[in-house]
Amino acid sequence: MGFREYRIGSILFGVALSTSMVVTVYMPSLDISGVSSTATALEKQLTYGSNSGFDYGDLFLHGNDKPTKVILKKNPVTGAAMDDTAAYVFPAGTSFPSGLKHDNILGADVQALSVSMGKMDQAAEVTGGVFLVSSKVTNGVETPYVEFATATRGWGIEATLAAASETILAGAGKTMFVREGCWWCHTLLPEQTHDWQSFGRPPVLGDFNGESPTTFGSDRKAPDLLHVGSRNSSKEWMMLHFFNPRLVQPHSIMPRYDYLWGPKDKAGNVIDLVKWDEEFEAYRDGDSVYPPEVPEYADDSEIRYLMDFVLNSK
């Protein structure tokens, strides 16, 4: 480049940029990767599966390739009654979250327990299986771990799904959350300065291991949703609110998500959005006393997924 100064300059440029990369990429990643998972992180991984954004298993973000969370009131093998237990069913072939695939995600102690007590190393994607989040207390410290219930308790996929008292498709729901851009208005990261009473405790360092994407959101135009299921668990309210938020909150700026109902309602009737809209406008303008009915959604509709995700965010 002619001048000696330019050679020196280029070298210095390289040194400066590389140093910056080491300090801002390499060092933080070492530090963050050393953190142990909390129970929250394990639950999130088992609920949301591998990736809630674009991925091989779900190119168009339809909510495919996701585990199913179930609530069990009885033991799926013996049928004996037991306390409500959340189990995470991965049908054969479902992609595992990072924590189940790689040894360095969960944090050393959680990983060790998940293998020794939880037999996590026996699980494989091709066969799938049923997982639990368990914990063990040693010297007064509780450490969560992943339990591969198919190996430790003999819980099969079919038996567990059949015994479920409740099926929660929150994994597919998180995909809807990402695809529909809820995180352009809602955050999943309450702040220290928020009202903890209503928004709940802000997350801690180990709450995210293995989750992807974290969709914290940055531009908050609406309430934080990390713990929304705890403050509002009404399915009815949510359903009306998603169909048209102005039904329950006349001043809301949230978009309608009526299109997530799909073409047909639960009973198989065609949903006529245009007609609904006319009736809604009549109601809004005071021409009719009652708002139009919101259709019941079908069990495999996208709104079902999203609703499960929201109500599951406790």
Binding site: S20, F54, D207, G210, P213, T214
Partner: protein, 468 residues
Amino acid sequence: MIKYLFAKEKNIPGGTAAIFFSFSAIMWFIIGTGIGSFNAAKLAFPDWFTHSYALQFGHMRQVHVHAVIFGWIAGAFAASAMYVVPALGNTKLWSEKLGVWNCLLWNVGLALGLATLWFGMTSGREYSDFIWPIDIYIALCMVLPLFINIFMSIVTRRTQGIYTTNWFFAGSFFMLIIVFLIGNLPEFFHLTGLNEAYMTWWFAHNVLGLLITPVAAAITYYIVPKVTGNPLYSHRVGHLHFWSIVVFYSTPAAHHLMSSPLPEWLKSFASVEGVLILVPAVAYVCNILLTMQGKWAMFVENVEIKYTITGVLLAIPLNMQGGFQQTRAINWYVHGTGWIVAHAHLALLGFSTFAEAAAVYYGVQTLLRRKLYSLSLANFHFWMLLIGFSLYWVSMTIAGLIQGAGKIYEVPYMDIVIAEHPYMIVRWLGGTMVFLGNIVWLWNMYMTVKQGEKLAPGVQPQDVAYAR
């Protein structure tokens, strides 16, 4: 365009690539601000126009952001680099043909990327929303050819030294490739958890800090001395600017996540580095404003200078906000509010857009050797941009302060939404003004190509600015 794609290099007139890029940038600016105005309308009147699934807010928002960043801003950067670098090196663009292809690949890639986003295919990571195949395409088929072209034009220059502007062009496009490849590692290798969250903001910070801020500054380093005829006030201060950008601007990524549970040392480090960004910022603004000495009348009389200097003046509040809003002392209040949205628009629609608009105005006239079709329309465009932007900025800043207060004083959320509503409407009006101004601009530029008065032989290109 097609006839140039397969023409011999020597048959392509100099400046072709820059002209193509200029017009593609203006088009994307119109598309981007049009979508922005539409989105703003949805936020002000949510029950307006709800029947099209394709036009849902949650999909359109990222389309707006990426159309303006990669279509308008980065496109205008490419346009200006392609005529400024050869001019400063007293040479031709290394390969005009590569430039034309670059423009084609750029538009195809961006259209593809926006279509996938629109369709709902997203990585779910803010600013790196594009799915990873598109990210790789951007790095290798859009930015790499641009970098090679610019770098080789600098290497084959026929002047001795390299002027400040060109350090920034060469450095920034190079860093952009690196930022794209490193910032998207979480998508390439499926990194998860806080690492993913942090890298998302590492990318977002650096794509702004190592591309948009320095290149917009580089453009003003060219336009102001060139048009006023004053030499740059100080090359040493230019050095300070360049090196402190590389060192300080590339490090504070974590300050975007001050409220997240990242390691404390990282947040503190980022916050200190974030204040140090004021070093390049102050150096830059002083350098340009001092270059204007004795020529301030041109701020009023000359349209390119009017744009450029307005941009530089907007950089003052921009940097003051940027330096301090990320410290813990202030961030707890404004984090996640409309204040930040206002700040982002101050950077992109304020500072950098004004600088780029100047470069595009100047470039098209210089390269075609034609006078601007209508000075009045250019002034009209200027005021539409400035007033529209100001309405946007002020209203969003106020909305942000309302949200901040609501957050701290535990106001029920619904009351915040109601209180913000008037400002949402003003923001929509402001955005719409920008959009309409841009349509006028496109018309003006088109007519300049078709009917702009030819410059007499012997008139130096920079005289264009005076000769009206």
